[in-house]
């Protein structure tokens, strides 16, 4: 009995403490190394590259590449079109996917799991695949135009897949899973008794939605918007397949700038960093706003 007590008492507290501090650092060391080597260091390199002139690196650091993005119409349009498209798609997908998210969190019915599985399916589809699917569906000899031609005798909707509606539909296609899942996890936390209370006080359906539900889910809407916006902003695969005339997006410009022969790495790096700054600023900023709202509500 005595020896047992002694063994329990002996481990020096200082040594155990040091081990407790060191162990988590050791366990996460590989991850830290990977992050530094694959994320921080490359981004630092990219920033430096964007500040150098491609032809004359000896000229020192300059903002010339960024000025070029702001002044050359093609690049400027690529940036503004990217922003506009991403804003539209993010707003649209957030609104539309409110319906399935509401359905999955508020109602119990057979087949729910299957429906949810189908909506999550496009999660890992690259944009390029979705572009191809749009051609299949709405291209010049797509399934829907041919079906309509068979039914009505006239080629309706032919080639729409190659135009703006096809582009928007393709972006919505791969945002559906992200928007639905983000909204769903937020709605699950929402107490349905709040709505019942609102209704019992005489509010109609829309009043309940605007006055009770909307204020509570506003942070979720904002963070869903942030997620879908940043994903849309970086995607160029759809346009790689659909290629609409006289229309371009910033990531596609970077891609062609890097792949097609008269390459300008400094300019491509500056475009990349512009894209990164916009994506990071909106993503981070909106998430902060959402977090503050959530804090205010709680």
């Amino acid at each position: 009995m005595r020896t047992l007590d002694a063994t329990i008492a002996t481990p020096p507290i200082a040594q155990a403490d040091r081990r407790r501090q060191l162990a988590p650092l050791l366990l996460s060391a590989p991850l830290l190394v990977l992050l530094l080597a694959l994320l921080v260091w490359p981004l630092a390199h990219l920033l430096r590259q964007s500040l150098l002139l491609t032809g004359a690196p000896a000229a020192g650091l300059t903002l010339h590449n960024y000025f070029e993005i702001a002044t050359v119409p093609r690049y400027r349009h690529a940036l503004t079109w990217s922003l506009e498209l991403s804003l539209a798609v993010a707003a649209g997908s957030t609104l539309i996917c409110l319906a399935p998210a509401w359905l999955f969190t508020r109602y119990q019915f057979p087949g729910k799991r299957l429906m949810r599985g189908i909506l999550i399916l496009p999660m890992t589809f690259a944009g390029m695949i979705v572009g191809f699917l749009m051609i299949i569906l709405l291209g010049r000899t797509g399934f829907i135009p041919q079906l309509l031609e068979r039914l009505t005798g006239k080629p309706f909707l032919s080639g729409v897949g190659y135009q703006f509606p096809g582009l928007i539909l393709a972006y919505l296609y791969f945002e559906i899973p992200r928007a639905t899942l983000t909204l769903e996890s937020a709605l699950r936390k929402l107490d349905s008794r709040l709505e019942q209370a609102g209704r019992s006080l005489g509010a109609n359906r829309w009043q309940v939605f605007y006055l009770v539900v909307l204020p509570v889910i506003r942070p979720a809407l904002i963070s869903t918007f942030a997620v879908t916006f940043s994903v849309s902003l970086g995607s160029f695969g759809v346009l790689l397949v659909l290629s609409i005339r006289r229309f371009t997006l910033l990531p596609l410009e970077i891609f062609t700038q890097y792949i097609a022969p008269p390459t300008d790495q400094g300019l491509a790096a500056a475009m990349s960093f512009t894209l990164l700054a916009v994506a990071f600023a909106t993503g981070y900023g909106l998430r902060q706003v959402a977090r503050r709202m959530e804090g205010g509500n709680a």
């Binding site: 399916l121 999660m123 890992t124 699917l133 299949i136 569906l137 992200r178 990349s272 990071f280 993503g283």
Partner: protein
Amino acid sequence: MLRRSGFIFCLAVTVALMAVILLPLLVVVLGSCVNASLLGLSTDLWSGSRNDIFDFSAFAYIFQNYGDWALFSLELALGCVAICLLVAVPAGYALARHPFPGSLLVEELVLLPLSLPGITLSMGLLAAYGELRGPYLVLAGHLLYTIPFMLRVVTATLRSFDVGRLEAAARSLGATLPQRLFLVILPNLRHAMMVGSLLVFAVSWGEFNVSFLLNRGRPQTFPAVLYDTYTNQSIQISSAATTIFLAIVIPAVIAIQWLGGRESSDLEQGA
């Protein structure tokens, strides 16, 4: 009554979204092997003159010409799973159980790539390690996009119950460190590790933006096969390639969905 109409409205929108998702997939899968004229499609773009109902020649073509690409993509995805398990599981345990100064920053940093354009990150990798351009740099790019998924699933699981108390109980019963690791911690993480591995596999298999820029020469990843067929081949061959792609991705998504709802909400962001 109000509740009923809300249900019907949400159901209608959801069914419409399901139709938008499923219809092109159905046409692609059927079009890859069934005679196009039977589907009501004009045959000139889809394939030559054929009288058979089924025709699997497009699949044979893909396997013959791009078999090594598919194999490379599978190896890459499995490699990502292995590295993610080795790197992200211990780190996830440390971050969730023993937060240290700056550990929140580390978690933010891990999630950062998910909200950054893939093209930017791959350009950064090229700027820093341009001479390494090839399969290893592709692996590096994939890791940036797959580690967040594994880490999130592991930390979410560890935070959902009091694992510290379980460990303390085991220690008070005399369990040594290896015993606690293999009999207490890892069994509780098995589910998370399975979901995480499936997520990592699916994300890596479907990744295109990063791989295309970081790779050089043959073999490329499987989504690059898709790009190659979309730009150079008939629609039927493109459809066959897409069908093969789906045949790998759909079972993975079904398994994730089947294994559990809680972790699949960690899918919410992605490549």
